[in-house]
Symmetry: C2
């Protein structure tokens, strides 16, 4: 198992082989063993295999090819709709139309997502997370018919790997783990923690290709730009409002 | 590995044995192999073993005994502080003072948390998630000295199990998985999906003990009440503002 976790690679190219229904079920069964707040299971998983719907999802993920090419696309949603319906059917008035409740459900959904991914990789499948989900939540809601109380938080494409990429670099453990309390970083801490990353050839090529001076500028000026973040931020907050999670907040 | 995931139980009672440093390191190394947006690793893990600091953390988690009794308390934080500092040291102007960026970092932190938990259980440890983290983020920030750009999103207590609880019930898989698109639930779907849960003796006792008519009322009127949710919701939004994630939003 440690091997499964330690050998995780993001897989973006998949064989055309479908995932046998039985294996997919097994992975999802394992996934939903994840801890969940008060055992409320405040999530839904949309498992999309239909080619037409995958095509509709593709632009929601900026047309990354994995969405059409992977045999299965899993959209993990924070979901209070099911729980609220159960409450109302049982003479109970749900009070979950607020931001805290959205976060509670989002946490549930994300723990399940990672559990599904570990189980999938252990079964020989490859996975890729799509961070575009929070950017384009509104469009995804339309395509997947998500009702009030449901917000997509992440998406995973799933299939048998047709590539074997190298292990991705990580910061040294000491860069992300703090003993007892947070020890804020001095300039020289930052330099030390990021030194190895900055020396990686692929990243140095990124910098050149993008005509930038530093690797950090590739992130701030090209990949994760302020204007985009602010735009998609407002959209996401509107979506939370629209899906009924901001009823008590301005 | 499937066994590890399928046998997950929340463990609330721990032996007094400490976790050997080497094992803890190994688990955390495994944990940080989890996927992360653009490989930015927008999280920090605070590993608290100091008795005095665990005592200060305890009230942040409504004095649940695990916080003081577990040898290790891991607080998983969305963290843009480290990345922002790296940007500024490298002539790059970070644009991550917004809600989308908070969500991106929170997702990173939660995927790592679940990866750590699976690795920990595989190493024979027991874990318990504390949902109180989002309720009491402000107090946790004070106790753990979290700077601007850092917000705690979940906490896990960790130790060698001193109890062997039964497997917790889950809704049937078909209740939480949707094929291709979301199929909204009819009243009879809800009744069918929750029937088994409602028949569980422990839950029926909950209902009696709390003088309620239905299990759902135990959730809405006792465990996760509207007034609390609305209160902690406003506090959490204030914290996001305070930690610098709402600069472009009202």
């Amino acid at each position: 198992m440690f091997d499964t976790i330690l050998n995780h690679r993001t897989i973006r190219k998949y064989k055309i082989d479908p995932i046998p229904e039985q294996i997919l079920q097994y992975i999802l069964e394992a996934g939903i063993r994840a801890s969940t707040t008060g055992n409320m299971q405040l999530y839904s998983i949309i498992s999309t295999t239909d080619e037409k719907i995958k095509e509709e999802l593709a632009p929601c993920h900026f047309n990354q090819p994995m969405v059409k090419e992977a045999p299965v696309v899993l959209t993990f949603c924070a979901d209070f709709n099911r729980f609220n319906k159960w409450c109302r059917l049982n003479k109970a008035e749900p009070g979950y139309d607020n931001f805290l409740s959205f976060m509670t459900a989002a946490i549930d959904a994300l723990l399940v997502a990672q559990n599904v991914c570990v189980a999938a990789e252990d079964a020989g499948l490859g996975i890729c997370y799509l961070g575009t989900t929070t950017y384009m939540a509104g469009k995804i809601i339309e395509v997947l018919d998500l009702p009030e109380g449901v917000v997509p938080v992440t998406t995973v494409t799933l299939g048998y790997p047709d590539e074997s990429p190298e292990l991705t670099d990580r910061l040294p453990l000491e860069a992300v783990v703090h003993q007892d309390k947070y020890s804020d970083y001095s300039d020289s801490d930052i330099e030390k923690h990021y030194r190895e990353k900055e020396l990686i050839t692929t990243y140095q090529e990124f910098v050149k290709e993008n005509n930038k001076e530093t690797l950090a500028q590739v992130f701030t000026d090209v990949r994760y730009k302020k204007d985009d973040n602010v735009l998609f931020s407002s959209k996401l907050l509107d979506i939370l409002k629209h899906q009924g999670f901001m009823n008590h907040h301005k």
